[in-house]
């Protein structure tokens, strides 16, 4: 984190002389700089690409283009990107990208087509600095970007930056543009800064303060920056009041925007960033074209949202539902008639169709396969790790893969036969016993998730085994997963981890408690998110506060906290 801040400092954002915040700024809440010092910073979580884009769209409008590449947040092994975001730095190259995006965004916002909606005042002279007007424009924008009122020092610094840029460019709007670009590369925008206050319920301990709770709620439930209502509620201290917090969170989970939060959560939980790097051998799978590739993840998310948000369905039924969505690109892969020329249409698999459930979707099947062949092991491992939260050890470095890679073998025409041969080595067999019984039931789907009756002309055995129960095919696998408490415990724990950036095992019996509540609520995802968003434990601070960040941009007189 400190590294990231240093990089920001190294960018050399204009160092300016101290200048007082304009005195004439209105007393409206959104114009009032923060007089109280910032709370103790207990965590800084980097915005994901989606959160950055959503924030810009919500603050400035969906017509503002965000063009550029985002440096990825590294996912800790067996954890979420949300967890990795709490320890993510930004490299110099990554910051250059953020800076370029910031400048492009700021240029759009203060261009002739857009500026009117953000200008609370007109400058006295459009070619000269006007600190009062600059503050009236920048203070409300800064409140949305930083998810809290700006401090007086921050206001002074950005106003002065705008003034200097106006003086050198002879254009008031250019000055605002530069100041806004600087705000967009501030760590207070690029990171969700979680600040804490003393917890009156537990003397000596800390809890997230109101403004940090507003960000927590908004990014957890809607995957975007807090809106005016939420910021006002935070400024009025409502979010540390359990009943008011519950009422506000309840309204948020009932909003259609919960879909965005659920999408982001499952994209994180199911490692959807892997779709960006998925490649298939065009010789083996000529049907796998870019249109198919881009549709796979969207199909899974639509199925998830439909089952869990639109239908308000039971999470367990996600593994057996016959409802999904399809578009023209996916039609040939599913050998299904698509009734609409454009976009997505609901599609229901026939009763008994082995496609039912999340694991029968081509996206999952293709993502957890090799480029030129299916992989019961990768699929089984993904089920264990992602859906059951049961980490599987990596294979040792000296494994002989000859048998499993011989996909055209006439002696061992099916993956099951090849894996059986491979597992004659007891070192290999130990892990394959964990993974393969969950992956082999999906073998009637090839490496891009297309249905096949045979492999190399031989019938495919889709027998599987999970928690002592034998079953056949994807339908049997889906039912077995739906019946297991490991499945529901996993998603419940992931939800807590996603919300807090903490692994629930840190909190002892907390994970079990979340799962029990999840069960009481009929395994409804909205209820799970509501519980995670309102449980006091999620706002308690276990870790010691971080050192106050130092940012070299505020004034030339010194570095301000």
């Amino acid at each position: 984190m400190i590294r990231a801040l240093c990089f920001l400092a190294a960018l050399g954002l204009t160092a300016c002389s101290a200048e007082k915040a304009p005195q004439s700024v209105s007393a409206e809440p959104s114009f009032v700089p923060l007089k109280a010092p910032l709370g103790q910073i207990v965590a800084m979580r980097r915005l994901t690409e989606a959160q950055y884009r959503n924030s810009i769209a919500d603050i400035f409008g969906p017509d503002i283009r965000v063009a550029g590449r985002f440096e990825p947040i590294v996912r800790p092994v067996h954890e979420l990107i949300a967890t990795g975001a709490a320890s993510s730095t930004i490299s110099p190259a990554g910051l250059e990208q953020f800076d370029a995006m910031a400048r492009a965004i700021a240029a759009q916002i203060f261009d002739a087509d857009h500026r009117a909606q953000f200008m609370a005042c007109a400058p006295r002279d459009v070619a000269a600095p006007d600190p009062d007007c600059a503050a009236r424009v920048l203070v409300p924008v800064g409140r949305y970007l930083f998810r809290r009122p700006m401090t007086q020092e921050e206001v002074a610094a950005y106003v002065m930056m705008a003034g200097k840029a106006t003086a050198s460019s002879g254009d008031f709007h250019k000055g605002l543009e530069l100041a806004l670009a600087a705000m967009l590369v501030s760590p207070h925008f690029l990171y969700v800064v979680e600040s804490a206050e003393a917890d009156p319920e537990s003397p000596g301990d800390l809890r997230l303060d109101n403004l940090a709770r507003a960000s927590r709620l908004s990014f957890l439930l809607w995957n975007t920056t807090p809106n005016e209502t939420l910021l006002k509620a935070a400024e009025q201290g409502q979010l540390t009041d359990p009943s008011q917090l519950a009422a506000i969170a309840g309204r948020m989970v009932r909003s259609p925007r919960l879909e965005d939060g659920v999408r982001a959560f499952f994209a994180d939980m199911l490692l959807f960033e892997k779709f960006d790097e998925m490649a298939k051998d065009q010789i083996v799978y000529p049907r796998f074209n870019p249109d198919v590739a881009s549709a796979l993840s969207e199909q899974m998310l639509r199925m998830i949202v439909d089952q869990l948000v639109t239908q308000k369905g039971d999470y367990r039924d996600l593994f057996t539902t016959r409802r999904t969505f399809i578009n023209r690109a996916l039609g040939p892969l599913y050998q299904a008639k698509v009734t609409s020329t454009q976009g997505w249409v609901p599609y229901e698999f026939a009763p008994g169709d082995d496609r039912a459930g999340l694991l029968g979707q081509a996206g999952f099947l293709a993502l957890y396969a090799h480029s030129g062949r299916s992989s019961p092991t990768l699929r089984g491992r993904a089920i264990r790790e992602l859906l059951l939260c049961q980490p599987v050890p990596n294979p040792p470095g000296n494994v002989n893969f000859t048998a499993v890679q011989d996909v055209t073998s006439t002696a061992m025409p099916t993956a099951k036969m090849r894996l059986t041969a491979h597992n004659s080595d007891p070192v290999c067999a130990a892990c394959h016993r964990i993974t393969d019984p969950l992956g082999l039931p999906l073998e009637k789907f090839d490496g891009i998730g297309a249905f096949r009756r045979q492999e190399n002309g031989a019938p495919i055995d889709t027998a599987g085994l999970f928690e002592g129960v034998a079953f056949q095919g994807n339908i049997g696998l889906g039912k077995a997963l739906a019946a297991s408490t490991s499945t529901t415990e996993c998603v419940a724990g992931r939800a807590f981890q996603y919300a807090t950036g903490r692994v629930p095992e840190d909190d002892g019996a907390l994970a079990g408690g979340i799962e029990q509540d999840f069960a009481k609520d009929g395994y409804r995802i909205a209820s799970l998110f509501l519980r995670v968003a309102t449980m006091p434990q999620a706002y308690r601070i276990a870790a010691p506060p971080l050192a106050a960040p130092e940012i070299a941009m505020t004034t030339s007189k010194g570095v301000h906290p």
């Binding site: 049907r287 023209r328 698509v338």
Partner: protein
């Protein structure tokens, strides 16, 4: 049903299979009797007979210009230092008075016919049953399998054009170009068969032969993917409903007027892109053989307006003449001379020409649209 069977037998006698039906290996039709297809190939049926073009392929506009010059002058123009002069003169040969050019206005130029096919064999269907009271005299071909009476004067007129004929068993650029139009969605054509009880023999099948606005779904090698979905255009003009039958694994349709859209490009007016034309085939028939892999192969035959045969060159205008080197007036003269359908009672000149298109259609899901209700308006 007896009348159906008699009609089927009569129709069968008119046609000769190009691709032998393998009825024993054909799958059973779907339970609902509905089968959809999308055309992956639709281009002039090519047959490269050894004796077709004994004098060589059709001459270019440059060659034809040189032939108008005396021998000594021709030799002088062909000398390298005189290349610029020759280019200026032969490209000038593409233009007439009042801004006319040889491809946009080929009928305004009096030029000899281009070389035509001399061979006796070509692909096609017997469109007139040996005699058509509304047609003109012509010299029919024999099919590659020996069936006489094949009406495909389009091939006779155009079969020596390099970009049609191709070499070594592969059709010319027109085949690749028309395939690309299918892939791009500009000419998307679909078939929807209903009432299919058997792929071997079924006396009564309804065939909807239509355009779709949908772009083709192709794989990484630009091959049409089977089982993609297409929706029939709402414009009833380009939704042709045909009566057909299946005999020995071969689908045949009764003669009908078939109209299909051709969009050349996506709307730009810079060149031929954005133009809208039609396949307009009278007395047209489909003769398609079911393949073991589920596809259909065969021919679509019918009489097309002679202008439509050279639509691409004509739309191309002076560029087709001076860049591609087409002598469109010579092309027009050949088509006019060989036209064998739709005789103008006043002049005796036929305005349409018999033609055969070779087609391949792969299985697809086809969403039909009911024709829009037409409301009479004043």
């Amino acid at each position: 049903m007896l009348s159906h069977k008699i009609a089927a037998l009569c129709a069968a006698a008119l046609f000769v299979p190009i691709v032998p039906a393998q009825t024993a290996t054909l799958p059973a039709p779907p339970a609902n009797g509905e089968m959809g297809f999308v055309f992956a190939h639709f281009a002039p049926a090519i047959h490269q007979g050894d004796q077709d073009c004994p004098d060589g392929p059709v001459a270019t506009l440059r060659d034809n210009y040189l032939q108008t010059q005396a021998s000594a002058e021709r030799l002088r123009l062909l000398e390298k230092p005189n290349e610029a002069e020759l280019t200026k003169r032969w490209t000038g040969y593409a233009f007439g008075p009042q801004g006319t050019n040889i491809c946009t206005h080929p009928d305004k130029f009096d030029r000899p016919s281009q070389r035509i096919v001399q061979g006796k064999v070509a692909q096609g269907l017997d469109l007139d049953g040996g005699a058509d009271a509304e047609g003109c005299d012509h010299d029919p071909f024999t099919s590659p399998t020996g069936q006489a009476g094949v009406d495909n004067q389009m091939w006779r007129a155009m079969g020596c054009v390099r970009t049609w004929r191709g070499v070594d068993g592969t059709g010319g650029d027109i085949v690749r170009g028309l395939t690309q139009f299918l892939i791009s969605g500009e000419h998307t054509q679909v078939l929807l068969l209903t009432g299919v009880d058997s792929l071997s023999d079924d006396p009564d099948v309804t065939v909807i032969y239509a355009n779709s606005e949908d772009r083709a779904v192709v794989d990484a090698k630009q091959n049409f993917m089977p089982d993609a979905s297409y929706t029939v255009v709402a414009n009833a003009q380009h939704r042709n409903v045909l009566k057909g039958r299946i005999v020995g694994g071969v689908l045949m349709t009764d003669p009908a007027h078939i109209r299909l859209r051709q969009s050349w490009g996506q709307g730009s007016e810079r060149d031929i892109r954005g133009k809208r034309t039609e396949y307009d085939m009278t007395k047209a028939r489909l003769r398609l053989t079911f393949q073991p892999d589920g596809s259909l192969k065969g021919l679509v035959g019918g009489y097309q307006p002679i202008w439509n045969i050279m639509a691409s060159a004509s739309i191309g205008g002076e560029g087709a003449a001076t860049t591609a080197g087409y002598d469109c007036a010579a092309m027009y003269a050949a088509l006019k001379k060989l036209a064998d359908g739709d005789r103008d009672p006043a002049t005796g000149q036929c305005r349409r020409i018999s033609s055969a298109m070779e087609v391949l259609a792969v299985p697809a899901f086809v969403n039909d649209t009911l024709p829009a209700t037409r409301v009479a308006q004043q």
